[in-house]
């Protein structure tokens, strides 16, 4: 037999294997629903539901002064869209039990001689008591309260305008409206692709092992590693579809366009998909039950990489051992690539380093998989 027909035999074998895999995947309607439904739900969640915005936060005011100035400031606070004044009282000891109930997030306390002190050119101290159990919220709430009060201060006392003032003018780059979307869309992409490729591939391969049909496949004339790879192919294509859905949602529903080259984004995403598939394959070789495969990919892999990829929590704040570990999380590098290409509009020259890292990881994962696979077969 000459070489060309040998090649086409393999090609046909591969094609029939891949086709069979497609049947498996496409016939499980429930799984398919979640496969595609999940990214959509996530994007919508992050886009419309989850944010750190402060809006209509319930606060209470303890107004011991009850004078003109305090009433004006209270009105200003209540008028802002950030806050909703639950009620005004004169009793400071109310604060603790109110906080204990959990609905009120902050209390503002006015001192007795509020207006008087202001008029005499002295300092009047307002106390802001914030519930510190939600640190994010506490910081932001505090910031807004402060800025409202400072505005009030400037308005009511023009003499505050001192000479020699350095005035900062701030410009927000890439995301002038401070939307949450540009930050999380890259993160959701990384997370969803990782989920589908790593977990689904690992579980699908292990399922065949569990059912015993894997042996049948391995006995076929096709090379064992190709058997495994053909299992991964449908997920490659499905991830591609997922990727496109997320990008389309991002552009048309969340108003976050792809500033850079779409082709570059897609090709680098495909690279990341292949990296994740390799990881899934490695997990499937190492585990023997579907349960174990799922847990290894989910709790062992997905969660840490979400945490350490820089998408939810900033990497630079982590202690250095964690920063080191985050370096081997492929999602960390992909996240940077997507941010740069999609949100900043950068070109390949800015992301070549990350690309190289992903390629190295993929090759390493596949090499390790091959070695482990041979050990298992022997």
């Amino acid at each position: 037999m000459n070489n060309t027909s040998g090649f086409s035999v393999v090609r046909n074998q591969l094609f029939s294997f891949v086709r069979k895999e497609f049947y498996h995947v496409l016939r499980d309607k429930k799984v398919l629903l979640i496969l595609f439904g999940m990214p959509i739900v996530q994007v919508l969640l992050f886009g419309f539901v989850l944010s750190n915005e402060v809006k209509d936060t319930r606060i209470i005011v303890i107004d011991v002064a009850r004078d003109e100035a305090s009433r004006q400031l209270i009105t200003k606070l209540g008028a802002s869209r950030y806050f909703q004044i639950d009620h005004i009282s004169t009793n400071e000891s109310e604060i603790e039990p109110t906080f204990r109930k959990g609905k009120i997030k902050a209390a503002i306390v006015f001192p007795v001689n509020f207006q008087q002190e202001l008029q005499h050119g002295n300092q009047a101290q307002i106390q802001i008591v914030t519930d510190g159990t939600d640190v994010n919220a506490a910081n932001t709430i505090n910031g807004y309260i402060m800025s409202i009060i400072q505005d009030f201060s400037l308005e009511s006392n023009p003499l505050q305008k001192m000479p020699y003032r350095i005035v900062p003018e701030v410009r927000m780059l890439y995301n002038p409206q401070l939307l949450g979307a540009p930050n999380f869309v890259p993160g959701v992409m990384a997370m969803v692709l990782m989920l589908v490729c790593v977990m689904m591939t690992a579980v699908a391969i292990v399922k065949e092992k569990e059912m015993g049909t894997m042996e049948v496949l391995l006995v076929s004339p096709m090379r064992p590693l190709l058997v495994i790879i053909s299992k991964a192919v449908p997920y490659l294509l499905l991830s591609f579809v997922n990727l496109s859905i997320i990008i389309l949602l991002s552009v048309y529903v969340l108003d976050v366009p792809v500033k850079g080259s779409v082709l570059l984004l897609m090709s680098l995403s495909t690279l990341f998909i292949i990296t994740c598939l390799s990881l899934g394959i490695l997990i499937s070789i190492q585990t023997d039950s579907q349960q174990a495969a799922m847990f290894a990919s989910l709790i062992g892999m997905l969660l840490p990489t979400i945490m350490l990829s820089g998408f939810m929590f900033p990497i630079e704040n982590m202690p250095w051992p964690l920063q080191l570990i985050s370096n081997i999380a492929p999602s960390r590098w992909y996240y940077i690539i997507v941010k740069d290409v999609m949100i900043k509009g950068a070109d390949f020259s800015s992301v070549w380093k990350e690309t190289l890292i992903l390629i190295t990881m993929t090759i390493a994962l596949l090499a390790i998989s091959m070695k482990k696979f041979k050990i298992r077969l022997a």
Binding site: L45, V49, L50, G121, G132, A138, N157, E169, L173, M307
Partner: protein
């Protein structure tokens, strides 16, 4: 021995022989528990700053040293080229640029005010706002110093002074805030996933037929699945609380009995949910994905990473049927604020109802005869 006891004995034997379950229930949470608080630090510090100084005057120097001395910023570049600084933002080496215009010092004196320009990488909106705020505060501080120097005896202590006091967590320690929530999330995941997979595994392997052919009552069967994982989850929760105490010095401010009574009911609800999913699925893959899908949505919308107040009204409706929401709330109330049973009573009742509904539904759904 009663049927239930026989069932429980079998379940426990199977659990302890299953390395995967043991690893997930004990090893993984411990690791997560240790790693996540270290990682989950929203504090904004070490902000990379590039300064473009076109003035190089005494005033600009004061500004620069005040900024670098504050500890919030890391100076990554100091040049006279905006282009250079902008390239650093593009390559993520800098988060902020501060540009000092030529003639800053001169214009401050002549015109009484002068602008400085700040450009912020605003992809991460929160980080950008906070970074900008810090910078503003430092600039204001520098201003005060300049004024004091130029106008000796100036009265800066006018107007409103603000004193902020953070209760329950005075130092705004992220760990204290997030750990009770992480514990809640971990226990939810374990409870939800493990119970979902369990019945399906019996379906897949065929042993469920053997069970269906016996006179076992539906309710005994479901209880036999529920109780072992309930115990498992309670154990994990206790381990978590203990770790929180030893490693992070978190002492529950409220009554442990209150906390545990809530957890007991909450776990019933979560496990019931897992069992319910299990009755609808025929393969482990399906169960796994369905469980993950819902659990993930519940956790994201639970109020741990973002606050519920900021959600649109329709989303707030959804949080009312989200058990994780109640759990995180109660964790915060009891562990951090020391709230009592009265305070958590509404949450307790809701979760109790959820437990009944979910488990009841699962029992109804499970058919021995098809």
């Amino acid at each position: 021995m009663s049927t239930l006891a026989v069932l429980l004995r079998k379940e426990f034997k199977q659990i302890f022989r299953n390395k995967a379950i043991l690893a997930i229930s004990f090893v993984a949470p411990v690791v997560q528990f240790l790693v996540l608080p270290l990682a989950a630090n929203f504090e904004i510090k070490n902000i990379n700053l590039a300064i473009v100084d076109n003035d190089r005057s005494g005033t600009s120097q004061k500004l620069v040293s005040q900024i670098t001395g504050s500890g919030f910023f890391k100076l990554v570049d100091y040049s006279s080229s905006f282009k250079q600084a902008y390239h650093l933002i593009e390559t993520d080496k800098a988060d902020l640029i501060l540009e000092v215009p030529t003639g800053l010092e001169r214009n401050l004196i002549r015109e009484n005010s002068e602008k400085v320009f700040i450009a912020v990488n605003a992809i991460n909106g929160t980080k950008a706002v906070i970074g900008g705020n810090y910078l503003n505060a430092i600039i204001a501080e520098t201003n005060k110093n300049i004024l004091t120097e130029l106008i000796p005896g100036v009265n800066l202590n006018q107007g409103i002074d603000l004193a902020t006091n953070y209760w329950f967590n005075p130092k705004l320690n992220y760990k204290i805030a997030i750990i009770p929530g992480i514990l809640a999330v971990l226990v939810t995941m374990i409870g939800g996933f493990l119970s979902a997979l369990n019945i399906v595994k019996e379906k897949e392997s065929g042993t469920i037929e053997q069970i269906n052919v016996t006179p076992i009552r539906k309710i005994d069967f479901i209880l036999g699945k529920l109780i072992p994982f309930w115990i498992l989850a309670m154990v994990v929760f206790t381990i978590g609380l203990t770790l929180a105490y030893f490693i992070y010095d978190i002492v529950p401010q409220g009554n442990l009995l209150v906390l545990y009574s809530f957890i007991a009911v909450y776990l019933l609800a979560v496990l019931g949910f897992g069992l319910l999913i299990s009755t609808y699925c025929n393969t482990q893959q399906e169960a796994m994905f369905l469980a993950f899908f819902f659990v993930m949505i519940f956790i994201l919308m639970g109020g741990l990473f973002t606050s519920i107040d900021s959600m649109p009204e329709w989303a707030k409706m959804i949080t009312k049927i989200n058990p994780v929401n109640y759990m995180i709330n109660v964790m915060r109330l009891v562990v951090l604020k020391g709230s009592g049973f009265r305070d958590i009573l509404p949450d307790f009742i809701v979760v109790l109802i959820m437990a009944f509904v979910l488990n009841g539904w699962a029992v109804l759904n499970y058919r021995k005869t098809n």
